[in-house]
């Protein structure tokens, strides 16, 4: 049977995932997950349960499903299109593995650890700015500058240049939205500006290599092979494209989750060593990347369902991370022992920058918990839709100053 002809298809739930009001954390989705491990959608199938998401995420029968994203949106050329088709996110097989091998050493957890004191200093500097007022707009005052300045620290560029990086990353991020075609000129202009920026940075480090992250990329070699200038440039654009919005949104979602679970915020405040666990827990129950897209490369059968080559398979992260079959107590619990979440995707396309994201958020959350007591919404919050990458656009909060 296939998705279209399954005899029991009346029992298979249907989810309209492109409806702007579609909600991941909803009765509709919980009911669908209870009824079936997958749902039909307006665009492929959605996998809802932990065990099946875990298996299919890493299945050799599926490849990354975003390669055709520009074409699906009527975009068939231009700077973004060219970059997209050559970036690590969509490359497969040996083309992917070669680039990944050359990029990996710069993202080593051993090297990222050295940046921790700078992440801590940055978090405290940002909190100092608003702590006395008892309120802040958490995204504009903390999450966005923090996520972007972490990138400037990593890239070894002046932190004062963060607004430029934030603007370019956000503009290129429009390419992932439903208005991509209308925004194409803006997106391509931002890619051009970021290319110039990246090319200058690469030239500088080629002339004056040091111990920093970009120098490591420039010098990276394996079996006599190196990244050429175009590959280096594309990688830096990917870092900025993939590293800013995601971290900003995830910090906002973390604050939302802790505001809903004040006793867990108190626990984190009292035990800052739970910072790393806090990151895992909020990404399990409230991930910014709400689904990971894959595409079947061949016809195959999984749990009695025939999945035809070309079928789009959405792997739902939040639904899988709160699946009662895998998590009998799915609530946020910093002391709980839970299986790994898939907020960073998985398999060969597992997020390249996850050690950076984990390290910077692990420092930020306990510092925030230690200084901001009883954080709460004060109204005026605005949110991205749940389809694709979600999170708060604005998150005004009030709190009691601790220190």
């Amino acid at each position: 049977m296939s998705v279209e002809t399954a005899p029991n298809q009346l029992n298979v739930p249907y989810l309209d995932i492109s409806d702007p009001s579609f909600a991941m954390q909803s009765e509709e989705l919980r009911n669908a997950r209870e009824a079936s491990w997958y749902a039909k959608t307006n665009y492929g199938i959605a996998v809802l349960r932990y065990e099946e998401v875990s298996k299919l995420l890493k299945s050799p029968k599926l490849i990354q499903g975003s390669a055709k994203w520009p074409a699906h949106n009527g975009v068939h050329g231009g700077l973004f299109f060219d970059w997209w088709t050559k970036n690590l996110l969509v490359l497969e097989g040996e083309d992917h593995h070669r680039i990944r091998r050359l990029l990996n050493p710069a993202f080593s957890p051993r090297l990222i650890k050295d940046l921790v004191p700078r992440f801590q200093a940055l978090a405290n500097e940002l909190i100092d700015e608003f702590i006395d007022s008892g309120s802040c707009e958490f995204i504009g005052d903390f999450a966005e500058p923090y996520a972007t300045r972490v990138l400037t620290i990593l890239l070894g560029i002046p932190e004062s240049e963060w607004p430029t990086i934030a603007r370019l990353a956000s503009t290129i991020g429009l390419a992932l939205g439903v208005t991509f075609k209308q925004d194409l000129d803006k997106v391509d202009a931002a890619v051009a500006e970021l290319y110039d920026y990246a090319e200058d940075l690469i030239k500088d480090r080629q002339a004056n290599p040091g111990e920093d992250f970009v120098s490591r990329l420039v010098l990276a070699s394996r079996d006599g092979d190196k990244l050429n200038d175009e590959e280096l440039r594309n990688a830096l654009v990917l870092l900025i494209f993939g590293g800013m919005d995601t971290t900003r949104n995830q910090l906002g979602l973390a604050m939302q989750s802790f505001m809903r679970n004040p006793e867990q915020w108190e626990l984190l405040s009292a035990r800052p060593e739970l910072g790393a666990k806090a990151v895992e827990e909020v990404m399990r129950i409230n991930p910014t990347v709400t689904w990971v897209t894959r595409e079947a490369v061949e016809d195959f059968t999984y749990q009695g369902l025939e999945i035809a080559a070309g079928t789009t398979v959405h792997l739902f992260t939040q639904a899988s991370g709160t699946d009662p079959l895998a998590f009998p107590n799915p609530e946020l619990d910093l002391l709980g022992e839970h299986p790994a979440h898939y907020g960073f995707g998985g398999g060969v396309h597992h997020c390249l920058g996850h050690f950076v994201a984990r390290a910077d958020m692990s420092e930020a959350l306990p510092l925030l918990a230690g200084r901001l007591g009883n954080p709460h919404l004060t109204g005026g919050d605005e949110w991205l839709p749940d389809s694709g990458n979600t999170g708060p656009i604005r998150l005004p909060i009030g709190f009691t100053k601790r220190i």
Binding site: R100, R101, P109, F344, V348, H354
Partner: protein, 63 residues
């Protein structure tokens, strides 16, 4: 020669080690990790990259 151990409770079969050190680690048709427990020290750099890159840090080496 050195010996690899993998904590199978942690290992989630992402396969990043098989990209970093394909002479030592591989994924079978079912997507499950297979590896050579004993490896030649000439491959130590590759194996160390695999250890570093493992998303769940499940790989260990002893001499």
């Amino acid at each position: 020669m050195s010996q690899i151990t993998v904590d199978r409770k942690l290992c989630d079969n992402h396969g990043q080690c098989a990209i970093a050190a394909p002479k030592v680690f591989s994924m079978n048709d079912e997507g499950v990790l297979e590896f050579e427990e004993i490896f030649d020290d000439a491959l130590l750099d590759e194996v160390e990259e695999a250890i570093d890159v493992c998303p769940v840090q499940a790989i260990f080496v002893k001499d």
